[in-house]
Structures are given as structure tokens and as C-alpha cells.
Symmetry: C2
Subunit: 193 residues, 2 copies
């Protein structure tokens, strides 16, 4: 067993505990206890509790940005791009539900200056989504709408997705999930006659 894998185990244990109890409520002692060693050992792997939060948050944010950047750069039409973004969210949420939960629930616990740079990343992501929607309206794929409201609504619509994958028992089928969400975002709930 090398140092890297034990560090990884420490981080995963931290992530799991933070998900269960919340970042502030999770103590270094809690994590150490679940690792079966003393608190002081935790500092072999990290310099501070904040490190844990920063590591996962920025790493996972990068993943989302990478995905949306590739989609925006593609030659797909806007409706297909939006579908791809939704699909990417489902994939990340399915693969890394705890990391995504952390992004939704704990980013406010970052301290300056990391807090500000993380907020910038969030704002930037919103701008990328807004750009996608604006292009879709311009190209006639999407209807005229208030872009600010639509952006907030759509991002909010897909933000809860991790929830389905943190409980083992309630995991929704990713294929059905994508079909249903795309159906609702694209066409809404009304039955067309």
C-alpha cells in the first residue's frame, strides 16, 4: 500500500462523512475515527480541513466546465447542445454523486480567497448556459424567453440529480432520467392536442 491510495481513502471517507453530516458538522475527529486512527494523522494527508473542500469542489467544477466547453464548441444545433449538457450532468451525477452533492450543498463554506474564485466559476458556468440558450433563440430552435430566468430555471432543474444516486435504493435509470428531463425541459408538462 503506497501513500497515494491511503490519501485517496482518507479523502473518500471525508467526502462520505461530509455528505452525511455536512461540512461544518463533520469534525476532523469524526473522519479520523472512521479511518481508525488518531486525529493528528489526518494532517499527513491534508494541511487543513478547508483543503478537503477545495480539492473536491474545484476538481468537480472543472469537470463540468470541460464538458460544457466541448459541447459549446461543437457544431451541433442548440437543441442538441442543450440535450448534451443535460446528459453530461446526469453522467457526472451518476458517477460522482457525493462530489456533486458537495457542489450543491457546501460551496458556501469555502473561505476567501477560494470562495471568490469558486463563485466566479459558478457565474461563468451560468454565462455559458445563457450563451447556449441565447444562440438557440437566435437560431429559431428555442422560443423567445427571458434568458436570465430560463438559465436559472434550467440549471436548478438539473441540480437535484445527484440525489437520485446518493441513496442506493432510489437510483433512477439514467436513460429514463435523460429522456424525461429532456422531455420536460424541451416541451413542458402540457399535453398537446
Amino acid at each position: 500500500m503506497n501513500l497515494g491510495s491511503k490519501k485517496e481513502a482518507f479523502l473518500q471517507t471525508s467526502l462520505q462523512l461530509i455528505h452525511e453530516k455536512g461540512f461544518k458538522a463533520t469534525t476532523m475527529r469524526d473522519i479520523a475515527e472512521r479511518m481508525n486512527f488518531d486525529v493528528s494523522n489526518s494532517y499527513n494527508y491534508i494541511r487543513s480541513k478547508q483543503d478537503i473542500l477545495e480539492l473536491f469542489l474545484f476538481r468537480t467544477s472543472e469537470e463540468f466546465h470541460h464538458a460544457i466547453d466541448n459541447i459549446l464548441d461543437s457544431n451541433y444545433a442548440s437543441d442538441e447542445k442543450l440535450k448534451q449538457v443535460i446528459s453530461a450532468h446526469i453522467q457526472v451525477a451518476a458517477k460522482k454523486p457525493l462530489e456533486v452533492a458537495l457542489m450543491v450543498n457546501e460551496w458556501r463554506n469555502l473561505k476567501e480567497p477560494k470562495y471568490s474564485s469558486y463563485v466566479e466559476l459558478r457565474v461563468l458556468y451560468e454565462k455559458k448556459m445563457a450563451k447556449l440558450l441565447r444562440e438557440g433563440v437566435k437560431s429559431g430552435k428555442f422560443k423567445e424567453m427571458n434568458i436570465k430566468i430560463a438559465t436559472a430555471l434550467i440549471l436548478s432543474s438539473i441540480r437535484w440529480l445527484y440525489d437520485s444516486y446518493t441513496d442506493e435504493n432510489s437510483a433512477l435509470n439514467p436513460v429514463e432520467l435523460e429522456r424525461e428531463i429532456v422531455g420536460l425541459v424541451f416541451n413542458g408538462v402540457l399535453l398537446k392536442h
Copy 2:
């Protein structure tokens, strides 16, 4: 000045501070400082820090339940009912943005047994929304859809609304907000040809 109004001032100050810093990060000293008195005085108005959270959370939850109950009991068609629920959310968010923000961001900080009873209220609210949607599908107003997914998506869609009213400068017009959100939830983003 009677005791009631000072208590109310204390609670409002608490609410504002909790919104700014988060519940866990807000100390009794922070609140007292903003009230211009010593920490110990805070306990003239509440028995514990938890009291503050419980008070606002259950009071505001009750407000949402009251609204949706009246709507479900009405004789409107399902699509009109959904519109009314969205409208109610916008109204509460506009009137009590800090309380709604608390509901979204801080309910996990409740302690047992209040935590469990609050979770029950949340689950119950989801069930009421699911019922509304199921009725709409049955009556032919809404299309066939996975009710679980649609419920989560719609509730998530309207959960961010407080955000527009906590910043003074970015407040969206409630009428436009309602029209846009109903438009998106009912018909989606696609332009119909």
C-alpha cells in the same frame, strides 16, 4: 417599545445574519453584536440557537402547505392548479425571501427530533405536488410522465426563486417571473412551428 417588538427585531437580525453567513457560521455573539448588546441578552428572547431555526422553518413551511392545500382543494383544472402553486411560490419568495432561503439552505441543521418532523413536512409537500401532477395526467391536461422525476424537477425549478429577492438590485418583476416560469414549465424551451 414592548418586549414583542424587540424580540421580533432580534429574530429578524438573526435571520439576516444567518442568510449572510450560514447558520453554523453565525454565532450568538454575531447576532448580539449587531443588536448592540451582549451575548447573554440574546437568551431573553430564545432558549437556544436552534429555536431561531425551528421558528422560521416551521412557520414558513406551514405557509407553503396552507397555500398548496387550498389550491388542491379548489375546483380548478390541474393546469390552473399548477399555475397557482407556482404563483404562490413566487409570492412567498417575494414577501419572505430570507425565510425561503433558510428553507432551502439551512434545514439540514435542525436537530432531532425536529429534523425528522421537518423532513416529513418536506416529503408531504412533494406528495401533494405529485398528486397534483398525477391528477393532471389522468384528466388529460398533462402528458404521460414519470411523476417522481417531474415532481423533483418542478420543485427544484421554483426553489431558487428567493434568490432574486435577496439582492435588492436583481429583483425580477413578479409578473414577468410568473409568466416566464409558467411558460417554461408548461411548454418548455422549444419553439413550436
